[in-house]
């Protein structure tokens, strides 16, 4: 449950990402695959060495979904229900991987935004993404 202040910080973070979903998404995936190579098993359809175009396409998809979540922080379950079904029935990404993605997200934002990505923004963003991950894995069993 995000407080009003936390929701405001999440919106602030999203403002810095919106419009650049593809670029940020691609870098997010690249960091994920570089730092945690085991995560690549969930993206076999991108090939052994995903090229820039594939990372941009898939990265954009991931970040657009994050954008949907940002617009619906009050009713994540409803907004993300189709994605939750997808993750439970098709993708079945082990829940342990979401913190790895979240870490890469923070590092990416910190490296791009530096001073603009404040401690409060990181705290709210971490809480928000953790909630999103929980919703996405809630229907697993």
């Amino acid at each position: 449950m995000l407080s009003a202040q936390e929701r405001a910080h999440v919106a602030q973070v999203w403002d810095l990402i919106a419009g650049h979903e593809a670029a940020f998404g691609a870098e997010l995936l690249l960091r994920l695959f570089t730092v945690y190579p085991s995560t690549k098993i969930y993206f076999k359809h991108l090939g052994v060495c995903p090229d820039e175009a594939q990372l941009l396409t898939h990265g954009q998809r991931v970040l657009q979904a994050v954008g949907v979540a940002v617009q619906h922080t009050d009713h994540l379950r409803a907004a993300l229900s189709p994605l939750a079904d997808l993750h439970a029935q098709v993708l079945r990404v082990d829940p342990a991987n979401f913190p790895l993605l979240i870490q890469c997200f923070h590092v990416m934002l910190a490296s791009h935004l530096q001073g603009e990505f404040t401690v409060q923004m990181q705290a709210a963003w971490d809480k928000f993404l953790t909630e999103v991950a929980m919703v996405l894995t809630e229907k697993y069993r």
Binding site: R31, Q103, C104, S111, G115, V119, Q120, Q122
Partner: protein, 147 residues
Amino acid sequence: MVHFTAEEKAAITSLWGKVNVEEAGGEALGRLLVVYPWTQRFFDNFGNLSSTSAIMGNPKVKAHGKKVLTSFGDAIKNMDNLKGAFAKLSELHCDKLHVDPENFRLLGNVLVCVLAHHFGHEFNPQVQAAFQKVVAGVANALAHKYH
């Protein structure tokens, strides 16, 4: 045992040489206490931790952060024997400080964020990978003597 390639060691040592240990230490510990507030349980005697600004400005947080990061610098000098280098500290954290090793992983991740913050684009995926490896190695070394 963690093995670092020559490239990883070079990337780590070169970046670490540019780190202001005092500043980064305080920043990392402060961020840990803000982003993961339950970690404050180990710092009851640190005084005012009631708000983000209180935590980030708290002199005890800064001092302790510096201490922790100075010790981390020793890890950089002993990448081939992290378990040996941190054996005594591991015993201390288990027997005297009673710190859940999960906290080492959390602090390691926060430290990587702080480095990304400072170094911006220089902190590319390969550099991040090398540092995540080092912080994971340190976390494991610190947990190694737990019983």
